[in-house]
């Protein structure tokens, strides 16, 4: 059952034809029996009709010209504002700084690579030089050192001198300490062989 309150709540749905068939029937029933609701519905429908047919107001003739001017003025104002805030004026220095920084970075990277390369060459060359240096003085010292004749030289001819390859591990320490003597003995041996 539709009462006046419900009628008012549903009035727009009725006008806009959004009520179901059953709801519409109930609504019409109340409308026929309630003069105030009937009057309200009529006034709303009449007002709505007037509003739909409101006379159309027309824009002034220079609307389009004014709009174009407005757009142009706005565009110019934006350009000036961006120049003032430095969007354009700061763009060049920013690029310059950027270019400078990039250039500096390239120089640093290049020089670092060069230094690394140089070091690598030095490291490769140094051990060879050191090896040469190590072997050269030994020969000189061996040449310069006067031959020391060991006290047990008398038994050289009778006692066999072991070669380097036949030296036992147990004898290694002894050989290391007596190395100059062994060299000397070897040399004597080779001299003897030549004779």
């Amino acid at each position: 059952m539709v009462n006046c309150y419900k009628f008012k709540q549903q009035i727009s749905n009725y006008i806009d034809r959004e009520l179901s068939f059953h709801e519409r029937q109930m609504f019409d029933q109340h409308r026929e029996n309630c003069p105030s609701c009937q009057k309200l519905l009529q006034s709303i429908q009449s007002t709505q009709e007037t509003m739909t047919n409101f006379s159309k107001v027309k824009l002034s003739e220079d609307f389009m010209t004014n709009l174009r001017e407005k757009i142009l003025t706005d565009r110019n104002a934006r350009i000036i504002a961006s120049e003032k805030t430095g969007l354009f004026s700061q763009r060049v220095p920013k690029l310059t700084y950027g270019f400078g920084v990039a250039l500096l970075a390239v120089v640093i990277v290049f020089s670092t690579l060069q230094i690394n390369k140089h070091n690598a060459i030095n490291q490769a060359v140094q051990p060879m030089a050191e090896k040469k240096q190590e072997s050269a003085p030994q020969l000189q010292t061996q040449q310069r050192t006067p031959p020391v004749i060991p006290q047990n030289f008398a038994g050289v001819g009778t006692k066999a001198i072991p070669s380097d390859t036949t030296i036992n591990d147990q004898d290694k320490n002894e050989n290391q300490t007596n190395k100059p003597d062994i060299d000397y003995q070897n040399r004597i041996k080779t001299v003897g062989d030549r004779r």
Partner: protein
């Protein structure tokens, strides 16, 4: 309400986004009248309404790339106009400028009509229109927007819901209350007049 154009509004704005200024002019031609009537019924001042419409198109021009084809173009442009009109109305209220003078300037049109022997029915309808228009300006802002979009601009509930940014149910209820409130205002005005 909806007119059948070969190119849809959405296609036009796309063309404009791609740099076709002619598409923008077409948009202006399609919408300037509708938006002007909407703004005028809302503000009840022709110059202000025209300013609002110009500002609307200026915004469309500036913000063309922010439009995405998620919403209808008409919804987007009506939203801009509605927001600009509301902002102007609030500024006016703050300055307490509303506006016996504005009403009087519009009344002059009726005086002009009388001197040119307009038929009585037209005169009556002009008078009724003026009364209803005055009553509309007495509605709260949210009622005013909704009822103008529905009963003057004849937009669908869905579209109004998108423009105002409220659910469909809220919009239906708001339009119903706006229509009832408008009748109350009109009755009050008749009583005062009598």
């Amino acid at each position: 309400m909806s007119e059948n154009f070969k190119i849809t509004d959405e296609e036009l704005i796309k063309q404009f986004q791609e740099g076709d200024e002619g598409a923008f002019e077409e948009i202006v031609l399609r919408y300037s009248g509708r938006l002007y009537n909407f703004a005028y019924r809302f503000l009840m001042n022709k110059e202000e309404a025209e300013d609002v419409v110009q500002d609307t198109f200026l915004k469309v021009y500036q913000k063309r790339h922010s439009y995405r084809e998620i919403a209808k173009f008409s919804t987007w442009i009506y939203t801009i106009t509605g927001n600009l009109a509301k902002t102007l109305l609030r500024k006016q209220r703050n300055r307490k400028m509303f506006s016996f003078s504005a009403l009087r300037s519009e009344d002059r049109e009726i005086d002009y009509a009388i001197t040119h022997e307009v038929p009585e029915t037209t005169l009556n309808s002009q008078f009724t229109e003026k009364i209803i228009q005055t009553a509309i300006t007495k509605l709260p802002e949210h009622f005013r927007t909704a009822i103008i979009l529905r009963d003057v601009q004849e937009l669908s509930y869905d579209e109004i819901s998108n423009i105002i940014g409220k659910p469909l149910g809220t919009i239906k209820s708001r339009i119903n209350r706006a229509r009832l409130r408008l009748q109350e205002i009109l009755e009050e005005m008749n009583i005062k007049k009598d």
